[in-house]
Symmetry: C2
Subunit: 318 residues, 2 copies
Amino acid sequence: SDSRAREAARARNDRLTKPPGALGRLEELAVWFAGWAGTERPVLARPQVAVFAANHGIAVRGVSAFPAEVTAQMVANFRAGGAAINQLSAWAGATMSVHALDLDRPTRDFTTGPAMSEAEVVRALETGWTAVDPEADALVVGEMGIGNTTSAAALACALFGGAAEDWAGRGTGIDEAGLSRKVETITEGLGRHGAALTDPLEALRCLGGREIAAMAGAIAAARSHRIPVVLDGFIATAAAGVLARAAPGCLTHCVAGHVSAESGHRRLLGKLGLDPILDLGLRLGEGSGGALALGVLAAALRTHSGMATFDEAGVSDG
Amino acid sequence: SDSRAREAARARNDRLTKPPGALGRLEELAVWFAGWAGTERPVLARPQVAVFAANHGIAVRGVSAFPAEVTAQMVANFRAGGAAINQLSAWAGATMSVHALDLDRPTRDFTTGPAMSEAEVVRALETGWTAVDPEADALVVGEMGIGNTTSAAALACALFGGAAEDWAGRGTGIDEAGLSRKVETITEGLGRHGAALTDPLEALRCLGGREIAAMAGAIAAARSHRIPVVLDGFIATAAAGVLARAAPGCLTHCVAGHVSAESGHRRLLGKLGLDPILDLGLRLGEGSGGALALGVLAAALRTHSGMATFDEAGVSDG
């Protein structure tokens, strides 16, 4: 991040026609964004939402309230414009791209072996990396993948410790018996891979999914392009968590868009030291909470870059 | 509110391509709005932000971090497009109107007598009532008035009980000594008017300000026109509080846009049973938090009215 632009933005913020600090979180967001944009008065002209979809071997274990074919059906829905993320991307003024990763070839059930081979996880990371428009000025990554809260919970547990129960939640709305199967599946997976999981990228390969790897690749690419990222929910944050464990401090280009109703998300944000912008009880994924927060970021930049200063407006500054 | 439209919207919400409840607060907002709009698939086409400004006699008591002339300076800033609310209204796609109420004639210092005469409070209520565009499909009311957190705190205390300390906050950023003067001023005002304050409209006349009365008039007019209202911060909510005490149950057309950093606001929302949409540490007024939440409401309506149903998209519904 460009500290000169950030400091110039902070100085501008102090001269805007409002009491100091009166725009709260909006002020912090604008100053943070200015550092990544490298300019005192940034605008949001070309935000991107990238949605990644993949299928999970562990879906056969009955860990979701929906059947696995819903992943492909929802990809078709994304492409036809019928999903929540289509509406929210349009609302936020963002372009939206959809990336289906080998839907007809689910990852391996991670209780029986690594979810992905080396080649598979590298390919998924690359898909994410190359999905990022280098000219975008903000990025949201989202996902779709029946079974992926189980994968994300296993990954979070491997990365940040605790028990499967701490990270397993209701996902799309599974019942008590399904939640028990979810906890068992996670516990079994963690036992199966053991010490290999101390390497964050190996944990991603063993327990993750293609869409999770792709989101990690996209978030890393965004940093390389100096594009700020607004994180979505539990699964996108788990992808960010892999990077945080692999390269501590590498998420300063990310903010947490929201905290979801999926129980592990608040815990995961805490581990990453991220304070969510919104708390609206969402638990959809797709990038939905990230896109909503992208709208709030746009509002923050409009106030920061568009307001008059005390001098310009002839207002007494207290 | 139209219960048939609301139930039709609820049924539509249950058929949209997402797990039930996965859009959290957005779903509730859309169903609530549908009832007021009287249609199953409402849109937000013509939202209005109305900002009211007035001056307060109690400003002479040193209860604000800013001098009283800032009210008129900020009205000029609103008209020139330089304030936060100009940017946030534009961001939310709302028209914005500014209403200055006799700025050269502050209300009376309420520690020496009623802030307004009968004629003055009626005129302010009417200004608010007529400021509402009957064709608007959502309304945010905002305010500007140096000293008005003191007026709002005194009013909240009269309406909902407790001590001056419970309701007095830092406003635009006053120091410890200023806060003490604020608490004293409120306590003195409450003592001065005594039993008259049990009548909510009389409390408004004795302790309020013209902009507060105007906001109350506008919120009442919105109900008469069946226009949903997104409340802003402490002062706008105090105006709504007058109506709630005068006619219990009359605020079902209102949602709380946000909870501000002004300490009394959370308490006041609690008294009114309102759950804020946003919590971003704002403490600016002007309608700023209301306009931000108006954007979230627009997003909620876009998902509700724009998404495909399970049948339309050919997605298995679990």
